[in-house]
Amino acid sequence: MRIFDPHIHMTSRTTDDYEAMYTAGVRAVVEPAFWLGQPRTSPDTFVDYFDSLLGWEPYRASQFGIRHHCTIALNPKEAGDPRCRPVLDLVPRYLAKDGVVAVGEVGYDSMTPEEDEAFAAQLEMARNADLPVLVHTPHRDKAAGTRRSLDVVRESGLPPERVLIDHLNETTVAMVKESGCWMGFSVYPDTKMDEDRMVRILKEYGTERMLVNSAADWGRSDPLKTRRVGEAMLAAGFTDVDVETVLWDNPVAFYAQSGRLDLAEAEPAACYAGNTIERGG
């Protein structure tokens, strides 16, 4: 089973996770820029974070045979903090980088006017950089937040096939399918979606434009949930081709719209001392 995890925060994971992911079939990931649990208080810490998503993390991933790309944005949870707003001025500089395959995560957390502004501004940046967009939908008041996100996307004039709406569930999938945007599902141990509910949604709505991710981060999460969904799909009668469509072809098709997806083998030259991250002394 070949797996592309289209949404995972590897910054928070260990090398054991990289090893287990490779063993499970994961060969490529996209790490969206998001928050880190602890609120940041200045744009400078975002600069270091973005640099890490473009430098250290892909380097670490490559040593375990996994291709790493990222998305860049000021995330909705911090977009409302005036101390973080200047990050918006830095984002276009990062959108020019080779490893960046979309603008994201953008969208809503509490649906405030500040979030509205950051969301719209970054959709405009996506247009200027010719990049697709990854939209986070809120945990609280999810259906209303998803509907409002679709309205903002429509007003932006971006083609729906350039937009992925993420963290969907039974209550939000239909409206996104109808919009023409791509549909993302985060499968978690005890919140968002689980693998059996995911299979039921795939049965009802089909595999077209459907993406499944682990969204694994620093919270309770599991980087192998993509694999578990693949297994649940096979157990429920889906074919290998269906699994490949959801776990590989769809994320590749979505992010390839950036023109920057590079799925060549992780370069063995980057690894000097076996599969270890040396600590440097």
């Binding site: 473009l54 430098g55 250290w56 980088k97 080779d98 030259a269 001392a273 991250i277 440097g280």
Partner: protein
């Protein structure tokens, strides 16, 4: 001819190979990019991240370990007309805001940018930043001819030791012939001792540097048959 000169020669010959490595579109992009930089130096900040997409990232024919985007970026930097502190400041900005590939290209270009002393010590900030990372590719690029020429002794020795720790082969370190001194041999002998006592391997490439100063091995345990 010294090792440093040989490395610089190799860098200069990259330009010749570059024309053959680019297709028509890449050649046109590069010509326009060079023109823009000559008109306004700061244009390099916008052109640098685009180089790989415009010209490709494949291997450079005849230059093992060098990629096309890297050679293109080096060529862009040679179009800068500033010197000294001003050049150092602009290079710092290109490096500071660059991704890993961009940073490596800046590091690799430092030697030729300082070939006639045009950069002076103003590129050291970049080299020091790279040596502080834990990315072997970055560290390897930082110990080229510029670092070999400009790093003070203590920092040069620390850089060599860091290469040993992160697994950068010492054949990649410029200037060892001239700069490997007794103190470096002492540090490497201590390192070899520590590893041997712990029952671990010692990379073979540190041995010749230790052997130049046999007295530093006194009282130290080294791998079987090393002396």
């Amino acid at each position: 001819m010294t090792h440093v000169d040989q490395t610089l020669d190799r860098e200069r010959s990259l330009d010749g190979a570059l024309d053959g490595a680019l297709d028509e579109r890449g050649r046109r992009w590069l010509a326009q990019a060079l023109e823009r930089i000559r008109e306004r130096e700061e244009a390099v900040l916008e052109l640098f991240p685009v180089a790989g997409r415009a010209c490709g990232r494949g291997p450079m024919p005849g230059a093992p370990g060098v990629t096309v985007d890297q050679a293109v970026r080096e060529r862009l930097l040679t179009a800068l007309s500033s010197r000294g502190a001003e050049l150092g400041e602009l290079l710092w900005r290109v490096y500071r805001y660059g991704d890993a590939a961009e940073r490596i290209a800046v590091l690799r270009a430092l030697g030729r940018l300082d070939a006639d002393g045009a950069l002076g010590e103003h590129g050291l900030r970049i080299v020091r930043d790279a040596i502080r990372t834990n990315d072997a590719r970055m560290i390897e690029a930082a110990v080229g001819p510029y670092g070999a020429r400009r790093l003070p002794d203590a920092e040069y020795r620390q850089a060599v030791l860091k290469c040993v720790f992160v697994g950068v082969p010492l054949s990649a370190v410029a200037g060892l012939e001239q700069r490997a001194d007794r103190e470096l041999a002492r540090m490497l002998a201590d390192y070899a001792h520590e590893r041997t006592v712990a029952g671990r391997d010692v990379p073979a490439d540190v041995r010749p540097l230790i052997r130049r100063h046999p007295d530093v091995t006194e009282g130290r345990r080294l791998p079987e048959g090393w002396l």
